[in-house]
């Protein structure tokens, strides 16, 4: 009994220690994210007031100084940073420096659902296609299917997403005139029935989704194939085969579960790529998402908006990685017990 309680105590303290370690790491990374987001922009030579003063022949040095005082840019850099950090703690990302001067967080939150839903939908479709494709190519290594998929994967990796978007626009939008090439809704959207509205949005999202899917298919199917090949080489697969299990049972019951685990990590790691990629795809298809908001902020040198987006993008990535870590632990009993015994 005493032995058991001592064991559970050591396990409990082990978990606490691991949590504390993770919390310190998280704190340092978050601090680093804010530091880089702030310094990178402030140390670069241009100033946010450039857009308002250099383009305006009536704005002289005095106007520039006034604007700097208004935005608090005349204070020492570390004070600006601490002030910004303090406001971030209260989820206050400041107001946009564009003409509407609305809060950065409100603007980000308005745009976030579209970007997240496009990415999620495409990710689900990619997984539905890529996982079976990866299994099929791994099980029939060096077959015609495997070689064809390998060639397509290499083409997919090398294909610039913006070029693919242009080609799809040319073919489906201009040549065949099947799908609209830009925006999220048609002009007569307001008069449509609820079902008509859904169809209208779906038609507008078809091409951007296709670009995301083709991009994602290459990496996930290739990775799935590699994981499956690795698992098929393991001793327990040999054991399963020698027990006389059917090929089907070996692959779907024994190999797949183990091969799927690394995919969780890959999904976590793909978050920054998806967020970064949304800048280009949303700009090409004129979709009002986070990527387009960031692009507009960059073009207008909207300081607060750029910093807000950078922090937000980085925190989303961090959350993606932590979620992947957590899911990996939940999905793999070996990791769960290893954590418990630490």
């Amino acid at each position: 009994m005493t032995c058991l309680s001592a064991l559970s105590y050591s396990r409990f303290s082990g978990i606490l220690l691991r949590l504390a370690h993770k919390a310190i790491w998280l704190f340092l990374v978050l601090l680093g994210i804010t530091l880089i987001s702030f310094w990178v922009i402030h140390l670069a030579p241009g100033s946010p007031t450039d857009m308002e003063t250099t383009l305006n022949p009536l704005a002289g040095e005095a106007a520039r100084r006034q604007l700097e005082t208004l935005y608090g840019l005349d204070r020492p850099l570390y004070i600006q940073y601490l002030d910004w950090l303090f406001r971030l703690l209260h989820f206050d990302f400041g107001n946009s420096m564009s003409a509407d001067a609305r809060p950065v967080l409100t603007k980000i939150m308005e745009r976030l659902p579209l970007t997240v839903s496009i990415n999620l939908i495409s990710l689900i479709i990619v997984l539905i296609i890529a996982v079976p494709l990866g299994i099929a190519t791994a099980c029939r290594q060096n077959s015609l299917l495997d070689r064809t998929v390998t060639i397509l994967v290499f083409l997919g990796f090398a294909m610039p997403s913006f070029w693919l978007a242009l080609l799809l626009m040319m073919f489906f939008g201009i040549e065949l005139q099947w799908l609209p090439v830009s925006g999220l809704t048609s002009l007569g959207y307001a008069e449509l029935s609820p079902w008509g509205k859904c169809c209208d949005i779906a038609r507008h999202l078809a091409l951007p989704l296709l670009v995301y899917i083709i991009g994602g298919l290459a990496s996930i199917s290739r990775y799935m194939r590699a994981c499956m090949l690795e698992v098929l080489r393991q001793d327990y697969i040999l054991t399963a085969k020698s027990k006389g299990l059917s090929n089907h049972a070996v692959i779907w019951r024994h190999a797949l579960r183990n091969a799927l685990l690394p995919i969780i990590t890959l999904l976590g790691l793909s978050v920054p790529g998806l967020i970064g990629g949304s800048v280009i795809i949303e700009s090409i298809f004129a979709l009002p998402g986070l990527g387009q908001l960031f692009y507009a902020a960059v073009m207008a040198r909207d300081y607060t908006m750029i910093m807000g987006n950078l922090v937000f993008g980085a925190v989303l990535t961090l959350a993606g990685n932590l979620l992947a870590d957590l899911c990996y632990g939940l999905a793999d009993p070996r990791i769960r017990s290893a954590k418990g015994h630490d």
Binding site: V29, F154, P160, W163, L166, L167, A226, G276
Partner: protein, 278 residues
């Protein structure tokens, strides 16, 4: 020679050969642009505006009557130059930090690895765009910014190799013989960890070319009238309905070049370092 080995051998070497052929052809075409280009990249043929591909203009002309083929040859110079310099910067930073982190461990390792963690949290294209927004969008700035935002992978790879190499006998022997640390790091450890660096560099060129063309496509990269594959596609987008050739050929050039570097990198990985294969 077992059949499996034979397949891998010929598969990898075929990829290597194909990749090398593409990379060399593209590099030669870019280097010899002044000799190969039928016209100068800025020469306007005002009587042939938006001319479709024909025997005089192989890839057609753009809105200002400039020859697309000639501009693509000169644009190739930009892409390759940006690719090489950006990767040179990221490999230099990544290698030095990886060596220091793996060899000295302790606080140096902690600090460098936390820096890597933090940098990897940023969607790299976001970071590149944010910095470029406040700089003048020219080739030098683009190369530096792409280089400064893509060293983390190299650092991790070099660190992992350094951690194991520093425990090997030949490194201990060099240390006992009184070799200075710098010599141990660069002469003994780095030379044994060159394979992953070379592979990452090759794949990195492909990544940098894609990043530069994406930036130029968004209007934040190489500025017109200078030609780059990315800004040619941007200019082509506005006349995509009437002159689709402007949106096809520069993209094809990016695709083929990136494919070449990817094939080269992947086959080098298969041949030099099968451990890294996945």
């Amino acid at each position: 020679m077992s059949p499996a080995f034979g397949r891998r051998f010929f598969g990898s070497y075929f990829m290597l050969l194909l990749g090398l052929t593409i990379v060399l052809t593209m590099s030669l075409a870019a280097l010899c642009a002044p000799l190969l280009a039928p016209y100068t990249p800025a020469a306007q043929h005002l009587d042939n505006i938006l001319q479709a591909p024909c025997s005089r203009f192989w890839f057609g002309t753009d809105r200002l009557g400039r020859d697309v083929f000639s501009r693509m040859l000169y644009g190739g110079r930009v892409s390759l130059w940006v690719g090489f310099v950006a990767v040179g910067i990221s490999i230099s930073i990544g290698t030095v930090l990886g060596l220091v982190s793996g060899y000295f461990r302790n606080w140096a390792d902690e600090v460098i690895m936390r820096m890597v963690d933090i940098m990897l949290c940023f969607p790299s294209f976001f970071l590149i765009l944010a910095v470029i927004a406040f700089l003048e969008p020219n080739m030098t700035n683009i190369m530096v910014v792409i280089g400064l935002t893509s060293w983390m992978g190299v650092t991790r790879l070099v660190r992992a190799d350094t951690l194991s190499l520093r425990e090997r006998e030949f490194v201990s022997a060099a240390r006992l013989a009184g070799s200075p640390t710098r010599r141990i790091l660069f002469r003994h450890i780095l030379t044994n960890a060159l394979a992953p660096v070379l592979i990452t560099a090759t794949l990195g060129v492909a990544g940098a070319i894609l990043a530069e063309s994406s930036l130029s496509f968004l209007g934040l990269g190489v500025q017109p009238p200078a030609a780059s594959w990315g800004n040619m596609l941007m200019e082509g987008k506005s006349v995509i309905e009437s002159a689709p050739w402007l949106s096809v050929y520069p993209g094809l050039a990016i695709l083929i070049t990136v494919l070449g570097y990817n094939l080269l990198g992947e086959s080098l990985r298969d041949i030099l370092d099968p451990r890294l294969k996945q």
